[in-house]
């Protein structure tokens, strides 16, 4: 059986079943949110850019925001055969790529994305079992839907599986 690796872009999301992989490349201040149902082997990945759809008028693209992105991801995973009560989360990203002594909180967007992601997952009773967030570097992540492992690759900050 061929294993397909499905690429998820910025402000985008996708779901798949074992044995396929989901990947997103070059996460900076954005957060990669992965959800996994290990009983049904259904995986989902969202690459969100902003914390909340409620602060913004132009919010048609659900995958752009932590709150609506997670909800939409769960919806699509259930369609693919996942059971919501089986879902666990792993998250990565939320860096601060550039360092400024600035009052502009746009530059702290990485932190805010991570906080918003955690609070939405908590609200939905989804446990975060591991994370690799913060810092000042980019990350590429690959989610293996056969076992839910999340591989994190960086330039100069090592590789790991969480």
């Amino acid at each position: 059986m061929n294993i397909e690796t499905i690429k998820v872009g910025m402000a985008d999301l996708n779901v798949t079943k074992s044995p396929n992989n989901l990947t997103t490349l070059g996460l900076g201040s954005c957060v990669g949110i992965t959800l996994y149902d290990k009983i049904n082997k259904v995986a989902g990945l969202a690459h969100i850019m902003l914390p909340s759809s409620k602060e913004i008028k132009n919010n048609d693209n659900k995958a752009k925001f932590a709150d609506t992105g997670i909800e939409e991801l769960i919806r699509q995973m259930i369609v693919l055969g996942a059971n919501k009560s089986n879902l666990v989360a792993k998250i990565a990203g939320g860096s601060q790529m550039f360092n400024f002594n600035s009052s502009n909180d746009m530059l702290r967007i990485g932190d805010r994305n991570v906080v918003a992601t955690k609070s939405k997952l908590k609200e939905l009773n989804i446990r975060i079992i591991s994370e690799d967030t913060g810092g000042n570097f980019g990350r590429t992540i690959v989610l293996d839907s056969s076992d839910g492992s999340l591989h994190v690759r960086t330039i100069g900050h090592g590789e790991k599986t969480i």
Partner: protein, 204 residues
């Protein structure tokens, strides 16, 4: 007048291109005098890109690049970024320090020199726009990051995430005479500032 990123007319795009041309012309002159080499630039592109496609400009999301980032405030709010691939960054520091290093490691001195070059390029660009439009532009100190193109370009893309599903940018490619150095300068004012710029130039 309200600008819609997804629906700019050709006349507006031409005006923005010309604006980029003037800004970049000054920046290219500043760069040329700094490295004592001839510097060419292309006709600026006004790009309206889906977020997904932004990193493709710099060779794909995982390509290692140097990004030098500036915040713009006052009348024009937004940001500017000067981005180079690693070969160009090393060649540029070699030209500056008059040496021939081949490894792709940049030390602290190299990084500081690149920040300063970015600073001079961005400041000359901003100055000429300010003169042309009569709008005040305050430019921050440079902040540099060497990492994946996707991660670096996510920073300006997120700014646009608030208002649109596309990013609007004026991009100029600089090339040193012998093709040793090629860099992209991105100018990303927010949409309100684009409106102010067009209004200052008499476009309605």
């Amino acid at each position: 007048m309200t600008i819609n990123v997804d629906n700019l007319n050709n006349f507006m795009i031409d005006v923005l291109k010309e604006l980029g041309n003037i800004g970049a012309g000054n920046a290219a002159t500043a760069l040329a005098s700094m490295i004592s080499k001839k510097v060419d630039m292309n006709v600026p592109n006004v790009r309206i890109l889906e977020f997904n496609k932004v990193a493709e400009i710099l060779g794909g999301e995982e390509n290692l690049v140097v990004g030098i980032y500036f915040e713009l405030t006052e009348d024009i709010v937004g940001n500017m970024m000067f981005a180079l691939d690693m070969d160009s960054a090393v060649n540029l520091t070699n030209i500056l320090f008059n040496r021939k290093k081949e490894s792709l490691d940049l030390d602290e001195m190299d990084i500081s020199a690149l920040s300063e070059i970015g600073n001079i390029i961005a400041s000359s660009y901003a100055n000429s726009l300010s003169t042309l439009t009569g709008l005040k532009i305050f430019i921050s100190i440079p902040s540099i990051s060497i990492d994946m193109a996707g991660a670096i370009l996510s920073v300006p893309a997120i700014q646009y995430g608030h208002v649109a599903d596309h990013a609007l940018m004026i991009e100029t490619v600089f090339e040193e005479d012998q093709n040793l150095v090629s860099g992209n300068l991105f100018f990303l004012p927010n949409l309100k500032s684009f409106e102010k710029i067009l209004k200052a130039l008499g476009v309605n």
